[in-house]
């Protein structure tokens, strides 16, 4: 709570909090009624559980190479068959869930942190800060994303960073602009709302206003953007693996399994089919979830 707790700010905050609470309950009710969104939520929860307990569920060691089992087709012992090095594909895909979620959530987290701060600062302070930050965003966004990723990955490669972390950093540092833009636009419109003006008038410091008044109102749109973005990040990871910028072997990410397996597409088609299906299901789930959250939080939904 604000250290400067004048009656005016206190009252304003009280109204805020009650308004928020009933908003969230209503949103949840709306979300529950959307079946696609529920499906997405269930799948995501299953994925998170798989990732958490991966070490217990895997039938075999995901990096152990069996002799003479190159590209073996699905069988009773190996439900999804084995890959080009004779490793059990099911185990690798389960282990890959950990990587997918780590990269997806980790990179999103980084993007949100950077994007929200830059966007809020630009929107709130305006003037030169805004122009400067906007042009910074423009410079970053105008470099072809892949160029940036490739160059960044190449420069960071020698620095002994584990490759999963490297992927998270690289995707995180290059993808925050959309968050910044949305946050900036929202902050610009929120800036003129009563409770902010009141807080300013009472002398509340800028940082506190941003933290305690503006950001809580941004949670909705940011969550929507974030959950819709996770799917894109997983696909981006697959594209990075295609270009050789993926995680280092023998770490099994879905993107790496897919892109390493693509030359065997006519010989051992199962190597690309199963990770591909996993990627589709996961991205679909996150997208449905994100759509559901957005529809649930949209106060104008009932207008239809």
């Amino acid at each position: 709570m604000a250290a400067i707790s004048t009656p005016q700010t206190h009252f304003a905050e009280q109204i805020d909090r009650t308004a928020h609470r009933s908003e969230w309950t209503q949103a949840w009710r709306r979300f529950r009624s959307n079946r696609l969104a529920l499906f997405g939520l269930v799948v995501v929860i299953l994925l998170i559980l798989t990732a958490l307990f991966a070490d217990l569920i895997v039938p075999y060691d995901p990096i152990y190479q069996f002799r003479g089992m190159r590209g073996a087709a699905p069988s009773a012992e190996h439900w999804l068959g084995s890959d080009y090095n004779g490793r059990d594909l099911l185990s690798r895909i389960i282990a890959g869930t950990q990587i997918a979620l780590m990269v997806g959530l980790g990179a999103t987290f980084l993007q949100v942190i950077i994007g929200v701060f830059v966007g809020a600062a630009a929107g709130y302070f305006g003037g030169w800060t805004d122009t400067l930050l906007c042009r910074l965003i423009d410079t970053l966004m105008s470099m072809p994303v892949l160029a940036l990723l490739t160059l960044l990955a190449a420069v960071l490669r020698d620095k002994e960073i584990p490759s999963v972390l490297l992927t998270i950093l690289v995707i995180g540092f290059t993808g925050w602009a959309r968050f910044a833009r949305v946050v900036r636009a929202d902050v610009l419109s929120l800036r003129s709302r009563d409770f902010v003006v009141a807080a300013q008038a009472s002398g509340v410091r800028a940082l506190r206003i941003i933290f305690y008044h503006l950001i809580p109102n941004l949670v909705g749109p940011v969550i929507v953007l974030a959950s819709l973005g996770i799917g894109g990040i997983i696909i981006l990871e697959a594209a990075l693996s295609f270009l050789g910028l993926g995680v280092n072997p023998p770490t099994p990410s879905w993107g790496v399994i897919l892109s390493d397996g693509r030359q065997y597409i006519t010989n051992y088609p199962h190597i690309v089919t199963f990770p591909g299906i996993m990627i589709v299901i996961t991205v679909l789930a996150f997208n449905f979830l994100g759509d559901g959250v957005r529809d649930a939080l949209d106060p104008k939904q009932r207008a239809d």
Binding site: Q65, S163, P249, R262, Q263
Partner: protein, 549 residues
């Protein structure tokens, strides 16, 4: 005085040549070849003396990389070398059995002391622009590309040359300052350019629009898409039977296979995935040539690092590798375990060298003997240093990455920890050379291929590509000596000893010689039954034709 016999080409190689020519004639029965009785005729009439039964058509080869240039400085990349070979000729060339035959030269004489080469050129050889080849063109080529001031990529192949004389229009005498036994394989196989044209435009422009004497001339060059060559009517050995050759660039291996399946291409000049090659071998619509490769698939290791510096450790690592399993499991059996730095089908290959069987127990014993004992976490250590390093594979190189992954597991079984990483090939080659990288995996020739055993570039301390940082005084001495002997019989003992040092010291972890499998559609006629040297398959010296329709 002992009889001084200068070596001429006609007597010995002549027999081999007619042998080859005869077998070609019997196999390509549907297409009569030129007469083969007296060596290749220098008949420059516009059409072949015998009427071809199936002339015309377009052959389509597939490349995995773009064709960045068409001049002698672009010979490094195999795909480019193939196209350049169709556009140019060299003084001598090598046929499908690696036998040398005179190409632009009618005869070659080498002085017994190896300090003078005399080439007598054919007469009436025409360039694509209509002018005739003379000794001036040969002198210009050697002088230009051998001159350090021009910083040509192939300049090292001209080392040791003192001067080039041209007493008349069809004689070239090359005087050597020092003996370089590799000369015929090196610079005599380099393309000869049109001096006048090359002087007018620069070498950089020449690479975009070359003028050579070869059977094909450039019709259209789109580096990243395709290079189209059309038959040269005035080719001195007779116009090729095929009208056009297209080298098309398709980076993705699976798509190259698809193109062969649909008939959109006639051959892939770069090998496909082994499974795909085997599938084509079983397919009656394709003929797949298997030839032993010239480069060794190996792990270059940085010999300056504490764990690689000890010979015992390197030998132990060799014992820890199950090289036959790598070939069986990951390469479908299409390779042979490497036992030497010189390819097995070379005449310099020494057969009974020291072998390294797969024996993890022996590996562990050797590690212990060297003082690298297993620590609490299962990883060996000595003097506080862990036996842990990084192996960097080439970005996008999925086939060899699989081998690195298996090696990672095998090394872990003997207490050595390996991390894997990926990097572009430019970075890897540079880092290995400068000693900043631990280990990688790729193919490289530790000789100069089947024809020439000289490993100075890679195994001598002064070598420009000494990836393992190998410094062995005896090796340096032998490398220098080997180049100074001209006769094969004199050179053999030197290279025997070099191979012995190589397998004893194990500067790199050598795995296998891949079997190169090159598929051709059966629509292409005129191919030999088997071949040791794949280069002639694409260099259009064979009377290839294509079935229409």
């Amino acid at each position: 005085m002992a009889e001084q016999r200068s070596r001429t080409l006609d007597r010995r190689q002549f027999l081999q040549l007619t042998g080859v020519g005869l077998s070609l004639a019997t196999l390509a029965a549907c297409v009569p070849t030129e007469s083969t009785t007296g060596g290749i005729s220098s008949d420059t009439s516009t059409t072949a003396s015998t009427a071809p039964t199936a002339a015309g058509g377009t052959l389509i080869w597939l490349s995995h990389q773009e064709i960045a240039g068409l001049g002698p400085n672009d010979l490094g990349a195999t795909m480019q070398a193939i196209v350049i070979g169709a556009i140019h000729n060299s003084l001598v060339a090598y046929d499908i059995n690696y036998a040398m035959y005179p190409d632009l030269a009618e005869s070659v004489e080498v002085e017994p002391d190896g300090l003078k080469y005399t080439f007598k050129l054919r007469q009436g050889v025409k360039f694509h622009d209509g002018t005739e080849l003379t000794s001036a063109d040969v002198k210009y080529t050697i002088d230009y590309y051998g001159d350090p001031a021009n910083a040509a990529t192939i300049q090292s192949s001209y080392t040791g040359i003192d001067s080039v004389e041209t007493p008349d229009d069809y004689t070239v005498i090359v005087n050597m300052a020092t003996v370089n036994a590799a000369s015929l394989v090196n610079w005599a196989s380099n393309p000869i350019v049109n001096a006048k044209y090359h002087q007018e435009v620069s070498d950089a422009t020449y690479s975009t629009a070359p003028v050579g004497t070869g059977p094909f001339k450039v019709k259209e060059w789109k580096a990243a898409e395709y290079t189209e060559l059309e038959a040269f009517d005035d080719y001195f050995k007779g116009r090729p039977l095929i009208d056009t050759i297209r080298m098309e660039v398709v980076p993705e291996a699976a798509v190259r296979k698809a193109a062969l399946d649909t008939g959109d291409a006639d051959s892939s000049a770069w090998p496909l995935l082994v499974e795909d090659s085997l599938a084509l071998e079983a397919d009656p619509n394709f003929k797949v040539f298997r030839t032993p490769g010239e480069s060794i698939k190996h792990f270059p290791i940085n010999n300056t690092l504490p764990y690689f510096a000890d010979k015992l450790c390197r030998q132990a690592l060799m014992h820890a590798l199950d090289r036959q399993r790598i070939i069986d499991d990951l390469w479908n059996g299409a390779a042979e375990v490497a036992q030497s730095n010189i390819p097995p089908n070379s005449q310099y290959y020494k057969a009974d060298l020291k072998q390294y069987e797969f024996d993890p127990e022996k590996a562990k014993a050797l590690f212990d003997e060297a003082g690298w004992t297993e620590g609490a976490d299962g990883i060996r250590e000595k003097d506080g240093v862990k036996f842990a390093f990084t192996c960097t594979t080439i970005t996008g190189d999925q086939a060899r990455k699989a081998i690195a992954e298996l090696a990672q597991q095998l090394f872990k079984d003997v207490g050595v920890e390996v991390q894997l990483a990926e990097a572009p090939v430019a970075e890897i080659l540079q880092a290995l050379r400068t000693g900043t990288m631990d280990m990688s995996i790729f193919n490289w020739t530790y000789s100069v291929g089947v024809l020439e055993p000289d490993p100075t570039n890679t195994l001598a301390s002064s070598g420009g590509n000494n990836f393992p940082q190998f410094k062995n005084a005896e090796m340096d001495e032998l490398c220098a000596q080997g180049l100074q002997q001209v006769e094969v019989a004199d050179r053999k003992p030197i290279y025997d000893r070099i191979q012995e040092i190589f397998v004893e010291e194990v500067p790199v972890l050598y795995l296998q010689y891949d079997t190169w499998m090159l598929p051709f559609s059966t629509r292409v006629e005129g191919l030999p039954e088997t071949t040791s040297n794949t280069y002639p398959l694409y260099s259009y010296e064979l009377p290839l034709t294509k079935q229409q329709g």
